[in-house]
């Protein structure tokens, strides 16, 4: 069973979103996602300052098996990307909810987070997806 922290929100495309104290939203992929991807070998970030739309592609994560799109969980402006991943993509596997974050968004409408799943709903979603 993969780790699903209770304080985060989750997208059906397996990104997590965390509302920070300054009102920005940090985005990464879940433990379940990194496990399914296998060894991550490359990460392609959006540009800082780029406008992204909820449920649209904002980056790519590539493992030895496949290159998969990363979708923005909320609409807004990219204000930071995790440069660490460019040299150490394996951080995504090692610490998906911490140092393995992807990018940070200044959201247009923070209430969009409510449309995402909570931990319990995401756990159930993963469970159903496996069957």
């Amino acid at each position: 069973m993969s780790e699903i922290p209770s304080e985060l929100r989750y997208a059906r495309s397996h990104e997590w979103a965390r509302l920070e104290e300054d009102g920005t939203v940090t985005v990464g992929v879940t433990d379940h996602a990194q496990d399914a991807l296998g060894d991550v070998v490359f990460v392609e970030h959006p540009e800082e300052g780029q406008q992204v739309n909820a449920q649209e592609e904002a980056g790519v994560v590539e493992s030895v098996k496949a290159a998969s799109d990363i979708y923005a969980p909320v609409t807004g402006t990219v204000i930071a990307v995790n440069e660490t991943l460019l040299d150490a993509p394996e951080t995504v596997n090692e610490d998906p909810y911490g140092d393995g974050w992807f990018f940070r968004i200044d959201p247009d409408d923070v209430s969009e987070l409510e449309e995402l799943m909570d931990a319990e709903a995401y756990a159930e979603f993963c469970e159903n997806e496996e069957h």
């Binding site: 070998v41 540009e47 098996k65 496949a66 290159a67 799109d69």
Partner: protein, 453 residues
């Protein structure tokens, strides 16, 4: 691994296993409006005897003679061992299978090929080949557009001295993807006009061919420096044989070319009416994820034994579908096999000898032909193993007359440049290391006779 199609019994057993009545039912989810239906234009089959008769007629219609024709496809010597080995059953069916690591021999061959191509071009990486040089250039242009995220423009600058067929193929493939091609005029001496470059404005990439279509050497160091100073990616189209002598694209200017591509035909591939051939694409490592195709790596297995593995295929179409780096890319497995064997047999010295021999024979040819009254060199300056000549009359007609003397005289340039009437009398000739002094004298005598008639 057997490459035998499944039998009727196997088909019905597979269908019953998954509970489907017919193969047709597997395509149910495709709406009927999107389906092509019956292929009415396909004629009924013919017998083997009939097929051989018809193909024999076609083959006989192909012009034959002593070959002085180049322009992208060259008559080089191919050691008999090349195709004797390449035609072995293990290679003949070569294509990286989807369970790639089960075919270690195929992977090792591609690994060797990629190593040789990267060394020849002095680039970091090579893909496993594409259809031909022209489609390789189109892919290289699309790569450059995807990779150069800083550039606002989608305009690609194309030297007017690039092979016209390569430009046409590239236009066909990229024009529907919002990429604009701007042609840089050539100077009177047949080379890219540096002065005209600046006037063309913003661009994402610059395409230069070395040697260019006329066999001339471009000032690639200056062009590479020009491109890198402006954040323009440099795409180098090269004849790989010439790299045994000329400076490889990875070393052009201060920074080198970003992408190199070209046609592998000079390496063990017969001219055979113009195809099939294979294209190569090499690039710097920073661009590897935009390069279509796959990369093979050498590694150790769990028991520490050496082996080969697919190390980069994550952006191929069986994984990325519509977002793949290319949806018209395959590797030309058998031709790459022949080229790899060819390069292994010739070695560094052999490839260099073929390149230098071709350059030397072409100089002898040019001297013999320009000794004829009215035949002159169209352009001055350095050239490799092709030369454009001015004739005193229409080059197309001269080529037809030479053919009656058993000489494939070259390519008449008029039809390649319909907008330039001065090309009507222009003939592009080439001599490879295979041509003998006697054959060159025969050509000169035949040309003299044709022009006197």
């Amino acid at each position: 691994m057997p490459f035998i199609p499944h039998t009727v019994e196997e088909e019905s057993s597979m269908l019953s296993e998954i509970g489907v009545d017919s193969i047709e039912d597997l395509f149910d989810e495709i709406p009927s409006a999107l389906r092509a239906g019956r292929l009415d234009g396909v004629p009924a089959g013919v017998s083997e005897m009939e097929m051989l008769r018809r193909l024999g007629e076609r083959a006989a219609a192909d012009a034959s003679g002593v070959c002085f024709l180049g322009a992208g496809c060259y008559d080089h010597h191919i050691p008999a061992a090349v195709w004797d080995l390449a035609a072995r059953g293990e290679f003949m069916t070569a294509y990286t299978p989807y369970q790639a690591e089960a075919s270690q021999g195929t992977l090792q061959l591609i690994y060797e090929y990629q190593t040789m191509m990267a060394r020849l071009t002095a680039m970091d990486v090579s893909n496993a080949s594409v259809y031909d040089g022209a489609s390789g250039l189109a892919e290289a242009v699309l790569m450059a557009v995807r990779a150069n995220r800083k550039a606002k423009s989608r305009r690609v600058l194309f030297a007017g001295s690039v092979h016209p067929n390569y430009r046409k193929t590239t236009e066909t493939i990229v024009s529907n993807q919002g990429v604009e091609i701007a042609t840089i005029p050539s100077t009177d001496d047949g080379r890219l006009d540096m002065a005209a470059l600046e006037a063309l404005g913003d661009a994402v990439a610059l395409v230069v061919q070395q040697p260019n279509f006329f066999g001339l050497l471009e000032d690639v160091d200056s062009l590479a420096d020009w491109a890198s100073a402006r954040g323009v990616l440099l795409v180098a189209v090269v004849n790989p044989l010439t790299l045994a002598v000329l400076k490889p694209p990875g070393q052009w200017g201060e920074a080198g070319a970003d992408i190199s591509c070209g046609d592998g035909q000079p390496f063990g591939i017969p001219m055979s009416s113009g195809g099939p051939s294979f294209g190569f694409i090499c690039c710097r490592s920073a661009l590897v994820r935009q390069m279509p195709g796959r990369i093979i790596g050498r590694t150790l297995d769990l028991e520490g034994r050496p082996g080969f593995t697919l190390t980069l295929q994550a952006r191929e179409q069986h994984i990325r579908r519509g977002k793949a780096t290319s949806n018209i890319c395959t590797n030309q497995g058998l031709l790459v096999t022949a080229a790899t064997i060819h390069l292994s047999l010739l070695g560094r010295a052999g490839v260099r000898a073929a390149a230098l021999g071709s350059a030397a024979r072409t100089r002898e040819l040019v001297a013999a032909l320009t000794a004829i009254d009215g035949v002159t060199e169209r352009f001055g300056g350095a050239f490799f193993h092709e030369r454009a000549l001015n004739l005193p009359r229409d080059a197309d007609q001269v080529v037809a007359s030479l053919l009656r003397h058993g000489i494939l005289g070259g390519l008449a340039l008029g039809p390649c440049f319909p907008e330039d009437p001065t090309m009507q009398n222009c003939l592009l000739v080439c001599a490879t290391e295979k041509r003998t002094p006697e054959e060159i004298q025969r050509y000169a005598a035949a040309l003299q006779e044709c022009l006197a008639a």
